[in-house]
């Protein structure tokens, strides 16, 4: 049949070349150092380099906090929209899509301006202490706030797709008829049915936070992505090695997501 024609293989071949060569070259770059021959030095050096552990830990903490906050905000709201307040749906949809219209760099310009109000206008009020507290470099709450906003569109879509597949109303009515209270109905009847969607949303948020660079760098914090750029100036091999590693970790996570949730289209509409 003409289906197996050469142009198809040409297309796949070229695509494979374009997408695999940079990955392969990155690996070669890190192990084949000019003048030293084959060495895995770059990878072993990663763990002893100053700031590696701290920045990775910070990124993971930020990711966990962001996931917790975004799910706590979104899940009750989305379930409630299905149950009792369908008229608010367009409002929530618009609110959750708005962050797509503001590019991260513009968003961080806005955040920076708001943070400057602290020292300029509020230095004598208790609010000032809050402004200082959310910018604590050990755990910058301000980044969590920003990441939650940036994750809203993805989490909305993931949860919306999950809820569409479940008849929440019947589930809740059944649980209530059996004598369950509201919290119990939600936690024991609805949430288990949303497991795929919740995982999906969490993984998307995790990937977003782990790879985020713009907001963190411009606000002057140093999670993982910012740290990589900062070490790259002095040690090219090392930074590429870290990139390869972080890539593998992120991809493993996203592939796991594809495996767990079934290949869901929500992943794609970024």
């Amino acid at each position: 049949m003409a289906r197996l024609n050469p142009w198809r293989w040409g297309v796949f071949g070229l695509a494979g070349l374009y997408f695999l060569v940079p990955l392969a070259a990155s690996v070669v770059f890190t192990v084949d150092v000019p003048g030293q021959g084959l060495t895995f030095d770059a990878y072993s050096r990663i763990f002893s380099t100053n700031g590696f552990g701290a920045s990775l830990l910070l990124s993971l903490e930020l990711a966990l906090a962001t996931i917790a906050v975004v799910l706590l905000l979104m899940v009750p709201a989305m379930v409630a929209l299905r149950l009792g307040a369908p008229r608010l749906r367009p409002v929530v949809e618009v609110v959750c899509s708005l962050p797509l219209v503001v590019p991260p760099i513009a968003f961080v310009a806005g955040i920076g301006t708001v943070l400057k109000w602290g020292p300029e206008h509020l230095s004598r009020t208790p609010l000032f202490q809050t402004f200082v507290a959310i910018q604590n470099p050990d755990f910058p709450v301000i980044l969590v706030l920003a990441y939650v906003v940036m994750a809203l569109p993805f989490v909305y879509r993931a949860l919306d797709a999950g809820l569409r597949a479940v008849d929440v109303r019947t589930l809740v009515e059944a649980a209530r008829s059996c004598g369950a209270g509201w919290p119990q109905a939600l936690v024991q009847a609805v949430l288990p049915n949303l497991r795929g969607a919740l995982l999906n949303a969490s993984f998307l948020t995790l990937a977003l936070v782990l790879g985020e660079f713009t907001v963190a760098q411009l606000l002057g914090f140093q999670p993982f992505a910012v740290w990589i750029v900062n070490v790259s100036g002095s040690q090219a091999q090392l930074s590429v090695a870290v990139s390869v590693l972080s890539l593998l970790v992120t991809w493993a996570l996203l592939l796991a997501l594809a495996g767990v949730g079934g290949r869901s289209r929500t992943t794609s509409r970024g």
Binding site: R8, V11, F12, A15, Y18, F19, V21, P22, A25, S26, V28, F29, T30, L73, A77, V79, A80, L81, L83, G84, L88, V91, V92, V95, L100, V101, V102, P103, P104, A106, A109, G110, I111, T113, V114, W117, L145, D167, T170, W182, G211, F213, T214, L218, A225, V229, S232, A236, V240, S243, L247, T250, W251, L254, A258, R263, T267, S268, R269, G270
Partner: protein
């Protein structure tokens, strides 16, 4: 059927309904309050700052459009045009290259290959930022593997240029295109092709008169989505070229970091507003197109 049943149930069980009522709106309140604070305040700061001009001599500030005018002049205008040009060229190329790839995937008989390409696209479309920049620096940068082995520098190759950035951006834009256009391609019925063939149409005629008109909304929608994605990208360019190529995102970053003339901090906010307007325009084009193309997928 379950749907109608439950609807009848809730209609008769009025007391239950009354008890449940308040929960709906209340559960949405924290979300709305949070976005008002964490998104609304910065958004308002952009708007307010973009229109505020501080008088350095008297220390007073007043509202005017001076910042916006300034953001559309000189180096700022060059950066804005640079961003639009880079995004438009990369988006157009990605659409052009992504379409045949998606078509090859959709018509492939091998399910495993199909699934693999689509999953990989999902992963690659989310692959931007710093690791992408470094992968390409290691490949095609000054000391990159391909650059060294093929002697590309002597042939005039430079990764840290406009076309270098285009090649890097294609790395996440092509997969994004494949993902956006695949549902539309799957919606093309084989019957339409057969009908065209039976009426004596050549493949070219089929594509020109049947497939492309049906795909047009999805194609255009994909194109603006890619444009928006490239337009907003910052980390890749920042990690790769610094600010040697004029891009609006790099200009804003420069301004935020204080590398501008005193009194022009608000120009960064005016530039941000310019970007928001462009991104808003992109979304305004994309969303209706997406809805329209959904018709064919039913």
């Amino acid at each position: 059927m379950t749907d109608t049943l439950t609807r009848v149930d809730t209609a008769t069980a009025a007391p239950v309904k009354r008890r449940r009522r308040p929960l709906g709106p209340l559960a949405v309140v924290p979300l709305l309050a949070f976005t008002a604070l964490a998104f609304g305040l910065p958004a308002w700061a952009i708007l307010d700052g973009a229109f505020t001009v501080k008088n350095q001599a008297t220390g007073t500030s007043s509202y005017s459009t001076a910042n916006l005018t300034l953001s559309l002049q000189g180096a700022y205008l060059t950066a804005l045009i640079g961003s639009v040009k880079l995004s438009a060229v990369s988006a157009a190329l990605a659409a052009l290259l992504g379409l045949p790839l998606a078509q090859a995937v959709v018509t492939s008989r091998f399910r495993a290959l199909r699934e693999a390409v689509l999953t990989a696209s999902g992963v690659l479309a989310n692959f931007g930022g710093v690791p992408l920049a470094f992968a390409f620096v290691a490949t095609l940068g000054n000391a990159g593997v391909l650059t060294r082995h093929l002697g590309l520098t002597d042939k005039g190759w430079d990764l840290y240029s406009f076309w270098g950035l285009v090649i890097v951006y294609l790395y996440f834009l092509i997969p994004l295109m494949v993902l956006t256009i695949t549902p539309a391609l799957e919606g093309l019925r084989t019957q339409w092709r057969e009908a065209a063939q039976n009426n004596g149409a050549t493949p070219v005629q089929y594509w020109r008169h049947v497939a492309l008109p049906v795909l047009a909304p999805s194609l255009l929608g994909g194109l603006v989505l890619l444009f928006g994605s490239a337009f907003a990208a910052y980390a890749t360019a920042a990690a790769m070229v610094g600010s040697s190529i004029p891009l609006v995102t790099l200009q804003i970053a420069d301004a935020i970091s204080g590398n501008v003339l005193v009194g022009q901090e608000n120009v960064a906010l005016a530039l941000s507003l310019d970007m928001v307007l462009v991104a808003g325009l992109v979304m305004a084009v994309y969303l209706p197109l997406q809805r329209r193309s959904a018709r064919w997928l039913a």
